[in-house]
């Protein structure tokens, strides 16, 4: 029990640091693409601390108040439900309490909480963004869950650990090679999941002032930042586990997640933003038809 608690705390903190650091790296790389110098690598830590230590803040109601906690809980929860390093008994954290389906549905927890907070803020743009976000989520979840179901049926299990262990023994056993189309679809959905161009219709700063967190300030915002950073890491680990053979050691975990994190960076800077219905339709049809190929292979 104590070991579990320590592991949970360390995992969360580690994920927070790693997530913020990755964010810093991405900002630097984006700046380089623009031909700028860019911020410090630690800029996100500075921002987080500043927000956390702001002297005043406002709130609009109970749901508004609780939403950042929902967001944080959603992020940490997903992180804890995913086994981080295969075979490491400590770092499996809480993954004994549920399989991939649980993780899939638990990913909505933070989103729903966030959406409720945005709704409670009474700001129309926040809610416009929620409407967009929910629509887009419903669209990418279709192909993402399709990809996941293909894996589950193909490997005959919903357990993430079993999925990881099924990929051991050589790089060709990775699901990215076994189910290339499903993986491709999942990688496409990775973009809207991380709200990067061309799918960043939720936090569209030039259209709707940054969407759901419009009214959030100070410590609330710092909680949401942390939640988002942790959630991002959790998603990275999940993807690595599902499609890229899982992580056998710390080094492979860091390399794989880092590379996976870099992938949207090289896609997003060259795209403009979709309109909501364009994004939704794209996500309905393109990745889903990719999955359909693997789906047919699995069924037949």
């Amino acid at each position: 029990m104590t070991r579990l608690l320590v592991s949970v705390i360390l995992t969360s903190l580690g994920a927070l640091v790693y997530g913020l650091l990755l964010g810093g790296v991405s900002r630097v790389i984006t700046a380089s693409i623009h031909g700028r110098i860019g911020p410090r690598l630690t800029q996100n830590f500075i921002d987080l601390w500043k927000l956390f230590r702001k002297e005043s803040s406002i709130h609009h109601g109970t749901m508004f108040w609780m939403a950042p906690m929902f967001r944080l809980t959603g992020g940490i929860g997903v992180l804890l439900l995913v086994p981080i390093i295969a075979g490491n008994s400590v770092l499996t954290n809480m993954s004994f309490s549920g399989d991939l389906l649980l993780v899939l549905y638990f990913m909505f927890f933070g989103c729903l909480g966030m959406a409720l907070g945005a709704g409670d803020s009474g700001h129309p743009y926040a809610v416009v963004a929620v409407s967009r976000g929910l629509l887009q989520m419903s669209a990418y979840e279709l192909s993402f869950s399709a990809a996941v179901l293909v894996l589950a049926l193909g490997l005959g299990t919903f357990s993430i650990e079993n999925i990881v262990s099924a990929q051991q023994g050589g790089i060709l056993n990775w699901n990215v090679f076994r189910f290339p189309f499903a993986t491709a679809a999942a990688l496409i959905t990775f973009l809207p999941m991380n709200m990067t161009y061309p799918f960043n219709i939720v936090l569209a700063p030039q259209e709707i002032p940054i969407g759901p967190p419009t009214e959030y300030s100070s410590r609330f915002l710092s909680f949401m930042f942390s939640g988002r950073a942790i959630f991002g890491v959790a998603k990275l680990i999940l993807f690595v586990n599902l499609f890229f053979g899982g992580a056998g050691s710390w080094s492979s975990l860091l390399i794989k997640t880092f590379l996976l994190y870099m992938y949207p960076l090289f896609v997003s800077p060259v795209f403009p933003r979709f309109r909501t219905e364009q994004s939704v339709r794209f996500l309905w049809f393109v990745p889903t038809s990719l999955v359909a190929v693997d789906l047919l292979r699995v069924i037949l």
Binding site: F52, R53, S56, S57, I58, H60, G61, T62, M63, M69, L72, T73, I76, G77, L80, L81, M94, F96, S97, G98, D99, L100, L101, L102, Y105, F108, F109, L112, L116, G119, D120, G122, P124, V127, V130, S131, L134, L135, S138, A139, L142, S145, A146, L149, V150, A152, G156, T157, F158, S159, T214, E215, R219, R275, T276, E277, V280, L295, V298, I299
Partner: protein, 973 residues
């Protein structure tokens, strides 16, 4: 002596009143009543003496010879137990109607009394000539009474009736001449010995006469015009006297007609029933509707004559026609003849409903027992015939419901309709008594239905608990609503008894009672007519499907094949699946909110129960995949519809149908996992949909609106309602740690286990689309900006809040400890024979299959732990935030114009609508509109027969006569 009195007392009275009338109206009316009462007493004595009442001696006979000569030179009357009972109805009908009719139009008492005597005479007549006399007198009196009242329209009707009567007389006399010429006697029974062409000729002539007189389709045109145009209070008397007499005389005649094949009568009847009622579907005029209903009963008579024989025939005809006549009399009594457009305008639909339900044959009304008996007989002869009859009866019920459903306004002039209401209640009482008797007879529908066990107890708990908890809020209706409490209770009690019913018949009776009590409950809503009508139609359709299944399978609906298909269809209709959601949406949105909570939360589970229990796994297997697909597509489509809808209750209705789609999906899988998922989700759905609808009831009660655009921000005023709604929304969205996830987990395991990946995908997509309406519901009603007009809104009344609290407590317990339910559910489902697949393993709080695992308790603890930590950390890490006003938002430096303008709720998912634009718009309302239109068009073909011109009707009779004779001639060389 008593017999003579029973028949001729009214005639005596007629002479007396003929002298009195215009001298002393009151006295004349009193004397009329006295004579009728005396006659009634006499006929009751006769009926008792014949043993008709006590021993069911319908065939016991008593002959009354009035003259010294033999017939036809004197009048010989034969009274059987059967006709004596019918005569009682004649007297009762006349007694009921005389005050209303003769009291209004003076001078009609003598004719009315004579009509009674004539009717009795016709019923008791034994030979052709006597019958002719009575028919002649009866027709003339009918014409006279129709024309009474100095109204041009009535005269027109009278003229039509006279023309038809003329033709009938001619044809009848021709037949009599031929009979006398061939057999040499005039006894009615004499013709059964006839053979050859004369027999054919006589059969054709008499059949035409009968069909015209009893207004069977296609010779019912004049009857329609008659009921539309006649003085409605005269129609009340007419229905129970002359109309009944003619029906019963025809019933006797039809058995002795020397037809080459009596079965043809059934076919004529069934065809006429379907086509005639199809023509009546679009009928708007209430009087004409009753005409169509009469024509339906005429067709039923033909069917009975063609299929049923002996004692059964007597009891069935008696049951059908006496009670239908009495009901019709009751209906007409409530009419106000001065209102030409809608004579029932001022009547409350609730009073009107009793006789109307009796006419349509809903249990426990007596006609139901006749109907089900007739259908069992027909099912043995030809299922196709039975299907046609059920279809025709369904058509009839459609316009009857329309007649009723638009009349749910307040009931004016209460005293005036006391007798009619009393009669309706008497009908109900008679029906209940008959139900007791009918249940004894068993009707061979006694298949053992329900296995005792946990699953049955679970449904029992759902029905009883749902009823009890929905009830408190129902005592006070919302704005513009009346209290549906009584009907909810009736419906709920019937539902609760459902799992305990021992045989198919009891099940069906309880099912129908529950459904129609719910229909009445729905009609208590603020804008009831649309919803009530469609609910009644769909409930009626489901009922008829179930009935057909019961009859076809001798009460054991578990038999595979067609009965199972019918049961599945009934269950799907009841749950609004596969496009049948039309009624759910209309009924839930117009019903009182608590009634909607009851319907969606509790009552819809009856269909699940029907599927899970009355259908064995083996029977459902061939339908499994189709069921699962229907469920999946419904779940998806309805979720999308719910996202685009802007009415709180309609959204909940769509959501309800969508969620039940998962249940159907689970049942369709016919595996242990699938059924566990289905039943688990049923229980979940019961909990969260009750909470949602009760919450909506509270919101609507306080704000008076269910429109998203005018709600919003209510969390500030109704925090408890919001909390309950939030919990149930998280639950049905399937977000862990609340209980909705459990059903999803079980379902996906079941789907992947069966390798049904496309289905799983649709289900998953549906569950994600569910987020859209889930959030929108919470936001548009509770979050966002509170409109100033709702500043004074208070928390929902305790009567709906407390039940929500109870439901929420159960929901939370189930969320964190699903094993409380699953521990017993899994073994119970695993023990159901015929279910394949894996049995999930429960260890402690964890559930696992070969595919995956899930431990709700530890997930719950994790969420609580992390959330608690975050909360505490926030609390101690700095200053409290300041709670600002609702318009203190960063609005580009501007002051927001007003809360309403800042609240973004209407057309919330516009991009979704745009993204879906490539799909053709398929609305259930359009589909059903199309069906209705097609039926109308088809009906138009037959309706165009009824031109309203008596000469056309005469032509119809002649054509039918010719066709019939030619056809029978072809049949016998």
């Amino acid at each position: 002596m008593v017999t003579a009195l029973a028949v001729f007392l009214p005639l005596l009275g007629a002479f007396l009143t003929a002298w009195l009338t215009h001298r002393n109206e009151r006295l004349s009316l009193l004397i009329t009543r006295l004579f009728l009462l005396a006659g009634l007493a006499a006929i009751l004595v006769i009926a008792a003496r014949l043993g008709a009442v006590t021993d069911g001696g319908l065939e016991n006979t008593m002959i009354l010879r009035t003259g010294v000569m033999t017939p036809p030179l004197s009048i010989d009357l034969k009274v059987t137990g059967w006709s004596a009972l019918a005569a009682v109805v004649v007297y009762v009908g006349a007694l009921l109607g005389v005050g209303r009719f003769s009291g209004r139009i003076p001078g009609t008492q003598p004719l009315l009394l004579t009509l009674v005597t004539t009717s009795l005479g016709l019923m008791f007549a034994t030979d052709f000539f006597n019958s002719f006399v009575f028919i002649e007198i009866g027709s003339i009196i009918t014409i006279g009474l129709t024309a009474a009242g100095r109204c041009r329209r009535r005269w027109e009707v009278a003229l039509k009736t006279a023309m038809i009567s003329g033709l009938v007389t001619i044809l009848y006399l021709l037949a009599v001449v031929i009979v006398y010429r061939t057999t040499g006697e005039l006894r009615l029974t004499a013709i059964s010995t006839m053979t050859g062409f004369p027999a054919i000729l006589v059969s054709g002539l008499l059949l035409t006469v009968i069909m015209t007189e009893i207004k069977a389709f296609p010779l019912s045109g004049w009857g329609l015009d008659f009921y539309q145009g006649v003085d409605k209070n005269f129609a009340a008397v007419y229905s129970s006297t002359w109309s009944l007499a003619v029906l019963l005389w025809s019933a006797r005649m039809l058995t002795v007609l020397p037809l080459p094949d009596p079965g043809v009568l059934a076919r004529i009847g069934a065809g006429g029933l379907v086509l005639g009622q199809l023509a009546g579907l679009r009928q708007r005029d209430p009087g004409r509707m009753m005409g169509y209903s009469t024509s339906a009963y005429a067709s039923i008579l033909l069917i009975l004559a063609g299929t049923v024989h002996g004692a059964d025939y007597l009891s069935l005809t008696l049951l059908f026609f006496t009670f239908a006549s009495l009901s019709k009399t009751t209906v007409f009594l409530m009419a106000d003849p001065e209102e030409e457009d809608d004579p029932w305008k001022k009547v409350s639909g609730y009073v009107l409903l009793l006789p109307l339900l009796c006419i349509t044959g809903i249990p426990p009304f007596p006609v139901f027992w006749a109907k089900i008996r007739m259908l069992t007989v027909l099912a043995d002869i030809s299922p196709l015939l039975m299907g046609a009859v059920i279809l025709g009866l369904f058509f009839e019920s459609v316009y009857i419901y329309r007649l009723w459903s638009s009349r749910t306004g307040p009931w004016q002039k209460k005293r005036k309709y006391f007798d009619a209401a009393f009669m309706g209640a008497a009908l109900l009482a008679a029906g209940t008594v008959w139900t007791a008797a009918g249940a004894e007879q068993g009707l061979s529908l006694s298949g053992e239905l329900f296995r005792a066990g946990f699953v049955r107890d679970l449904f029992l708990a759902i029905f009883a608990g749902g009823t009890l908890l929905s009830l408190p809020g129902a005592f006070r209706g919302g704005p513009g609503e009346k209290s549906p409490a009584v009907w909810m209770l009736v419906s709920g009690v019937a539902l609760t008894l459902l799992p305990l019913s021992g045989n198919g018949l009891t099940f069906y009776v309880l099912w129908e009672i529950s459904a129609f009590a719910a229909v009445i409950g729905v009609s208590k809503g603020a804008r009831p007519s649309e919803g009530t009508f469609w609910f009644a139609v769909f409930a009626g359709a489901a009922g008829y499907l179930l009935l057909a299944s019961l009859v076809l399978s001798d009460g054991a609906v578990s038999s595979p094949g067609i009965p199972m298909l019918l049961v599945a269809a009934a269950a799907l209709l009841k749950m609004g699946q596969g496009g049948a959601h039309l009624w759910n949406v209309r009924a839930y949105s117009t019903a009182p909110s608590t009634m909607a909570a009851f319907l969606s939360g509790t009552s819809s589970k009856a269909a699940v129960f029907l599927l899970v229990f009355s259908a064995s796994a083996a029977a459902i297997l061939p339908l499994g995949t189709s069921l699962a697909w229907i469920g999946a597509l419904t779940a998806l489509g309805m979720a999308a519809m719910a996202s685009l809808e802007s009415d709180y209750k309609k959204v909940l209705a769509y959501a309800s149908v969508s969620q039940l789609g998962y249940v159907i999906m689970g049942i369709g899988l016919t595996s242990v996992l699938g059924w566990t998922a289905a039943i688990y989700h049923t229980f979940n759905h019961f909990l969260f949909k009750s909470i949602l609808f009760l919450g909506a009831a509270g919101v609507i009660a306080r704000t008076g609106t269910s429109d998203y655009d005018s709600l919003g921000g209510l969390v500030k005023r109704m925090p408890l309602t919001f909390t309950f709604t939030l919990i149930s929304v998280i639950a049905f969205a399937g977000v862990p740690p609340l209980s909705g996830f459990g059903s999803k987990w079980l379902l996906y395991n079941a789907l992947v286990e069966q390798g049904m990946l496309p289905l799983a995908l649709v289900a998953m997509f549906a569950s994600v689309v569910a987020f859209l309406y889930a959030f929108r519901l919470l936001y548009a009603v509770f979050l966002g900006q509170l409109a100033p007009r709702h500043y004074e809104v208070k928390e929902a009344p305790l009567a709906v809040l407390a039940p929500q609290g109870v439901f929420t407590a159960v929901l939370m317990a189930l969320s964190f400890r699903p094993t409380l339910l699953l521990d017993r559910l899994v073994p119970a489902v695993a023990s159901i024979a015929g279910l394949g697949g894996e049995i999930p393993v429960i260890e402690g709080t964890a559930l696992s299959t070969s595919l995956g695992y899930w431990d709700a308790w530890s997930v719950g603890m994790m969420v609580m732990g992390v959330f608690g930590f975050a909360f505490v950390f926030y609390w101690i890490s700095g200053r409290r935030p300041i709670h600002v006003g609702q318009l203190d938002i960063g609005f580009a430096g501007e002051l927001p114009p007003s809360p309403e303008e800042v609240h973004y709720a209407g057309d919330f998912f516009r991009p979704f609508r745009r993204a879906l634009a490539f799909l053709p718009e398929i609305h259930a309302s359009k589909v059903f509109g199309g069906i209705v239109k097609t039926a109308d068009l088809a009906g138009d073909v037959f309706r165009s027969l009824f031109t309203g011109d008596a000469r056309t009707y005469l032509l119809h009779s002649l054509i039918i006569l010719t066709v019939m004779i030619l056809w029978m001639k072809g049949g016998t060389p």
